[in-house]
Symmetry: C2
Subunit: 286 residues, 2 copies
């Protein structure tokens, strides 16, 4: 049996559904639209932007990019964002981070209304995640990991899930999503003592550390399901995850590779979120 | 050595500090004030109200109660709350829950501004808890458990903490607070399989289940620190926790009893929060 969980299959399935929904909305005269807001010209942001545009296109979702100068001031950025919030033709807003240092993200995050906040910047969406309120938008990457588990029909209830990492984009939100799925959830981090002892308990192990290939087979119990959320670029430009996939392959039941794992699903989740946002607002309007 | 962690000592220490701060504020002409909003005449709410009034009095904080009729409608309740939000003499607002069924709490929770939301109803405070932003107000009961650990100088960093229960008032917020303290945190719940196996890993075990004396010594590892957040009333009217204290006493390093444990600290934390709210707003005004 194939042990590698292929993120591309997961993404295709999500995109197929999103495209189907987009078609229905378009027949009703509604064109689902994502607005990307990019401040500055970071190379990684532009690469991500291109990947998003391609993906939205596959899902029949329109994408527009608002590229703003690196030195835009706080009040001007807020003004631009407010325009998008007020525009009835924009359904989802994706603001790339990190923002330049002179911008106060603590103020910005409230400006993007929860209903258009497709990547969980607004505190209301953070709270919905904790409350288990499914009308919110969890961060796309955390949700991508969950979609992989869902696609491969991996039961969460009663399982021991261990998440390594406690970031606001993966570790914490994913622990909330696994808890919502009735797993028993442990969150580990840099101050965890005897990490491998903790990770060895995991039926489902999620690595979101940012350390290339740190997780070896000694960290796993036999038959574990391993979800690798890490995306690291080594000195030769090769992309690797937080897990040493080859080393772990014999021991796992399933594992997501990097590339072609969770990372492939993130933009598909974004498409799903744009459709959800579009349907939410149009339900309200009618 | 005494194994019982006395919540009354913790509360006294917090109240002493709060009173000291209240004195300073009063010398500056600011009278710290808590407004309790009670809808209906629930007996448990009135008992809690009396306990709060007494405690605020000890801390030299003014308390006023706004008692509203059980059948008040949504828009009227919102109007009343908005008045308190706008009043410069009110620093903290404590709305008792559960609210009557005809009231939509999902709307109400946004009305109490985050700055006066001393018991974490507003989603902004929930998000701050997750983000580790200390300007927010965690739920008083969750914070009370943390204050006990702090008072008794129990190190959190690197410890295995296990929380049983995933409510929005204790389980989830306390798991976030323990994570902020650099513990490795596991959240268990009704769907956890083999609960005692999980709880036996705990250096620090938090019980917030709502099942009288459910936790026996078989659930503990030797030398565990046990924090009992349960408050259950048995058929004879006696108050018990979620932990069978007598049964566990030999095995633990420390344990909080019920009564005189965490419950005694909750209203003290509320006083601390009112002072914090009062200082926040007056820092902004100046």
């Amino acid at each position: 049996m194939e042990k590698l969980l292929n993120g591309k299959f997961v993404a295709s399935s999500i995109i197929r559904d999103a495209k189907n929904e987009a078609g229905k909305l378009r027949r009703d005269g509604i064109i689902p639209k994502l607005k990307i807001v990019r401040v500055g010209e970071r190379k990684d942001s532009i690469a991500y932007e291109n990947a998003i545009i391609k993906r939205m296109d596959e899902a029949n979702i329109e994408t527009e990019v608002l590229a703003l100068p690196e030195d835009i001031d706080q009040s001007n950025l807020i003004k631009q964002l407010k325009k998008l919030v007020d525009s009835s033709s924009v359904h989802g807003i994706m603001l790339f981070r990190p923002l330049p240092k002179h911008i106060d993200e603590n103020e910005i995050k409230f400006v993007i209304s929860p209903e258009k906040d497709v990547d969980c910047i607004n505190p209301v969406n953070v709270a919905k995640l904790v409350e288990g309120d499914e009308t919110g938008f969890p961060p796309c990457t955390a949700m991508a990991a969950l979609e992989v588990l869902k696609y491969y029909k991996i039961e969460l209830e009663g399982k021991e899930a261990v998440v390594i990492g406690r970031s606001m984009v993966v570790g914490k939100p994913l622990s909330m999503l696994l808890l919502r799925g009735n797993s028993t959830v442990t969150v580990c981090h840099s101050k965890t003592k005897n990490l491998s002892k903790v990770t060895k308990r995991a039926d489902i192990l999620v690595a979101a550390i940012g350390q290339p290939q740190m997780i070896k087979k000694e960290y796993l119990k036999d038959g574990a399901i391993v979800i690798d959320v890490g995306i690291n670029v080594d000195s030769s430009g090769k992309i690797t995850g937080d897990v040493d996939t080859q080393d772990c392959l014999d021991k796992v039941q399933f594992i997501t590779p990097v590339p072609s794992g969770v990372g492939s699903v993130t933009t598909a989740v974004l498409a799903k979120h744009v459709i959800k946002a579009c349907k939410l607002v149009n339900r309200t309007v009618r």
